[in-house]
């Protein structure tokens, strides 16, 4: 089939303004978006710049905005975007843009500096005060189940950059950092719950979440992030009362 990719382009060395460029290519409905991007880079235009690594949705490198939605370019087939007829020439282009709300470095590559700062702000590591036992700390399967979904997060930033609260206030911690906070607050081994709750219970913290659910829609790992954030709110209220 024939499809057109309309790709956001910006080279800081030569362009004063970003622009969109169309590439008409031959593709297969079963191609991933990352495959067609690779095809363009390999065969047509080597200047096209994007991040990618594992190509199967676990490294979190290739988050981008595809037809208006944040997703991983390696985890979506053209047919899932509605380009499914192998014999057709599609007029409607596939629009590919960088993740919104982040500074743009080049083409589809964005600057993650603030994203990582927020990640680090929630102390993303286990804190224990009691001395470790000789063997493993015990956890029931139910204890682990509580944090399993949260530990799936690949830090691709699809959620945080899809959140309207982040768009209006870039200082908002955002869903990814809050999910990381959840992962440790609800880890039965962690002994710094209060300290962690203090971090998210701030004006730019959890209360900027208005359960808009964009993060849930955007998450390529299908994590119900809003549910996790709600559990954190519950925990905060319980602490206060």
């Amino acid at each position: 089939m024939k499809v057109t990719l309309r790709i956001f382009r910006f080279n800081p060395e030569t362009d004063s303004e970003p622009y969109y460029k169309d590439y008409e290519i031959e593709a297969d409905p079963k191609d991933r978006v990352i495959d067609v991007l690779h095809y363009i880079k390999n065969e047509i235009d080597g200047t096209l710049t994007f991040r990618r690594s594992c190509l199967h949705g676990i490294c979190g490198s290739d988050g981008m905005r595809i037809n208006g939605k944040n997703m991983l370019a390696c985890s979506i087939l053209l047919q899932d975007l509605g380009y499914s007829d192998a014999n057709k020439t599609y007029k409607k282009p596939i629009v590919i843009e960088p993740l919104p709300g982040m500074p743009i470095i080049k083409d589809l590559v964005t600057d993650f500096t603030d994203f990582w700062k927020k990640y680090e702000a929630v102390k993303p590591y286990l804190i224990t005060k009691s001395p470790p036992p000789e063997r493993e700390r015990l956890q029931s399967p139910e204890d682990v189940e509580l944090i399993m979904e949260a530990s799936k997060c690949i830090l691709c930033a699809c959620c945080t950059t899809s959140c309207p609260s982040t768009w209006s206030n870039e200082d908002y911690l955002g869903p990814a950092a809050l999910l990381k906070a959840y992962r440790f607050i609800f880890d039965s081994r962690d002994e710094a719950t209060d300290e962690r709750l203090d971090i998210i219970d701030t004006p730019n913290g959890i209360w900027r979440c208005h359960t808009i659910f964009h993060c849930v829609q955007a998450c390529p790992k299908e994590i119900n992030i809003t549910w996790h954030i709600s559990k954190l709110k519950q925990k905060l209220v319980e602490r206060e009362i």
């Binding site: 080279n11 800081p12 060395e13 030569t14 991933r32 880079k41 390999n42 065969e43 235009d45 080597g46 200047t47 710049t49 994007f50 991040r51 990618r52 690594s53 594992c54 190509l55 199967h56 949705g57 676990i58 490294c59 979190g60 490198s61 985890s75 979506i76 087939l77 470095i105 080049k106 590559v109 993650f112 680090e120 102390k123 993303p124 590591y125 286990l126 224990t128 470790p132 000789e134 063997r135 493993e136 700390r137 015990l138 956890q139 029931s140 399967p141 204890d143 682990v144 944090i147 399993m148 530990s151 799936k152 690949i154 830090l155 992962r183 440790f184 880890d187 081994r189 962690d190």
Partner: protein, 585 residues
């Protein structure tokens, strides 16, 4: 710019991060990575990490040791294997204490499951008698590598380790057998930097992208192998390339052995569980080399299934496992099957084919991750290697599943400890003049070259020829063909032209340099494979189908020789407790 660090670690996967945690306070340490640390390839490991914890049933590190030696087809160095299997238990507990979220059993202990090649004697009083599969792989659903990478990175954040993400290392500064640092391109700006260091560790991962079908990330371009090789450091046992039996058909995306550990079986066109023929006792849990060969044989003998594009696949059947096991223990891989092939593993079997997976060979090191360049154990001062890029050798001719995650945390730590000792005792060696000369010239040449060759074309031709001639089944003739092709491609590589001539975030340039690394790595694989005229583990020569302990129970060391044919030397295998025996499953 010239940076100065006591320790420079190249690569932020499991081995690099684990090593970084050993650099003591008061000394400076930089971790360089060409991606962001959490993007490292360790994160794609799925099934588990082995240790004889005995949480599910009786087990012993000695059984683990035996399995690893046997799995390696007796090419693994037994002193190193002993250290790894013994240390495994401590290493897993340590990870748990660091916060790694393991799956748990009813007792609240780390859960364990069976994995390919991991067994114990049926009768404990007869350790060399019949063996049965044992639950030894510790896991976190099918995201073990992902949570391990996250946990190690989190602990590095806690420690305040300094990272240089998206710094692409291009060269090792080494003179008079003393390492002095590395040269790196800062991808965001295109600037070339020198990292002056007392110690350097390469933890740069594998080279899967030498082949067309691979489970490896696009960044798995063998950079560490090629850089060391170009700098006169030998590579050990490069002929041993692991093909994982179950890659998603055409894509090569890994479907973990855990799928078979949990009870999945392989079937051919006739619906037969064909592994019963090739490994009667442990069947679908045989080591990877055995299964990959069985799959190629099935396809050759006409029992593969042909897809619309003419290529063949076999089936991984999980339909009998039920939603409970599939959704709880194998959620990630079932997601892959659904997204990429439109197959629901609950209802239909998954089309699979062997996929290039792991490099058993690499930069030769001793058991403390110190790089040694000959059979006498001569060290390169201040140079360390750990993880997939290193060859200790614990995997010998074939790695057992779950031993790679173990390798990185055990030898990453040991290497880190040695680096810590070294930096306390040594001063900075002086930097040679023009330390970044090679990198500058290479970058200039690529940017200014106006040839007619495209990087992607050369890369593709390399991947095709390697896949066709230096993969599961090999012949002398085929390998020679590959060598000729590599020579041709190397010449054409001098005539490349890239589109992007800019400085900032020039991935076109990075890919061109990576291609050079792929070519050098492929050369070392092909020559080593041609040289070894026997079949052992993952290296199967159809023209020499037997293992030949008389002549070949030794490690290959391959040295680059300018533009001439590489030089091959040997190193004895360390055998302590187990004499080579027939390898049957």
């Amino acid at each position: 710019m010239i940076y100065k660090f006591d320790a420079v670690i190249v690569g932020a996967g499991g081995a690099g991060l684990r090593a970084a945690l050993e650099i003591p306070e008061g000394y400076t340490c930089a971790v360089l990575t060409k991606v962001y640390p959490t993007r490292s390839h360790t994160g794609t490991a799925q099934g588990g990490v082995c240790a004889a914890l005995g949480n599910e049933e009786e087990d012993s590190w000695e059984y683990h040791f035996f399995d690893t030696v046997k799995g390696s087809d007796f090419l693994g160095d037994q002193d190193a294997i002993e250290i790894m299997c013994y240390d495994a238990i401590r290493a897993i507990i340590e990870l748990e204490h660091m916060g790694m979220p393991f799956s748990r059993n009813e007792k609240g202990l780390i859960a364990q499951r069976p994995f390919g090649g991991h067994t114990k004697p049926k009768d404990p009083n007869n350790p060399f008698g019949e063996r049965v599969p044992v639950k030894r792989a510790c896991f976190s659903a099918d995201r073990t590598g992902h949570v391990m990478l996250q946990t190690l990175y989190e602990n590095c954040i806690k420690r305040g380790v300094q990272f240089f993400p998206e710094f692409f290392v291009t060269d090792l500064i080494v003179q008079d057998n003393i390492v002095r640092g590395v040269v790196a391109i800062e991808i965001a700006t295109g600037e070339i930097h020198i990292f002056h260091a007392k110690t350097v560790m390469f933890a740069t991962g594998g080279y899967g992208r030498v082949y067309r079908i691979t489970s490896n990330a696009v960044v798995g371009t063998g950079d560490g192998f090629a850089i060391a090789y170009r700098r006169g450091i030998p590579l050990e046992d490069m002929e041993f390339v692991q093909f994982h039996p179950t890659g998603l058909w055409r894509l090569g995306i890994l479907v973990s052995e855990a799928a078979r550990g949990e009870g999945g079986v392989l079937r051919n066109k006739l619906g037969e569980r064909f592994m019963e023929k090739y490994a009667p006792t442990i069947k679908d849990l045989a080591p990877r080399d055995v299964i990959s060969r069985a799959m190629y044989t099935e396809i050759r003998e006409g029992r593969g299934i042909q897809g619309p594009d003419g290529t063949y696949y076999l089936l991984l059947d999980l339909t009998h496992l039920g939603p409970e096991i599939i959704n709880k223990k194998l959620p990630e891989i079932t997601g892959f099957a659904r997204i990429y092939l439109g197959v629901d593993p609950l209802k239909e079997p998954i089309p699979v084919q062997p996929t290039t997976h792991y490099a058993m060979g690499g930069i030769p090191t001793n058991v403390d991750a110190e790089v040694v360049i000959d059979d006498k154990g001569t060290k390169v001062e201040g140079f360390y290697a750990a993880g997939e890029v290193a060859c200790v050798s614990v995997h010998g001719a074939n790695r057992l599943g779950t031993n790679s995650l173990l390798d990185i945390i055990v030898f990453g730590r040991r290497g880190g400890k040695k680096m810590a000792e070294y930096i306390k005792e040594h001063d900075f060696p002086p930097l040679p003049k023009d330390a970044d000369e090679w990198t500058r010239k290479t970058v200039e040449r690529i940017l200014n070259s106006n040839g007619k060759e495209r990087v992607s074309r050369i890369r593709k031709e390399l991947q095709e020829i390697m896949m066709d001639n230096v993969s599961v089944f090999r012949t002398g003739e085929g390998i020679k063909k590959a060598i000729e092709k590599i020579k041709e491609l190397k010449e054409r590589y001098q005539e490349i032209k890239i589109d992007d001539k800019g400085k900032k975030f020039n991935t076109d340039l990075i890919e061109a340099i990576e291609l050079g690394n792929l070519l050098d790595t492929a050369e070392s694989i092909a020559y080593s494979a041609l040289n070894r005229t026997e079949s052992r583990g993952a290296h199967y020569r159809e023209d020499y189908p037997k293992r030949d302990d008389q002549n070949w129970l030794k490690h290959t060391l391959i040295y680059k020789n300018e533009d001439k044919e590489p030089i091959i030397k040997y190193k004895p295998v360390v055998i302590t407790k187990i004499q080579p025996m027939e390898r049957k499953y």
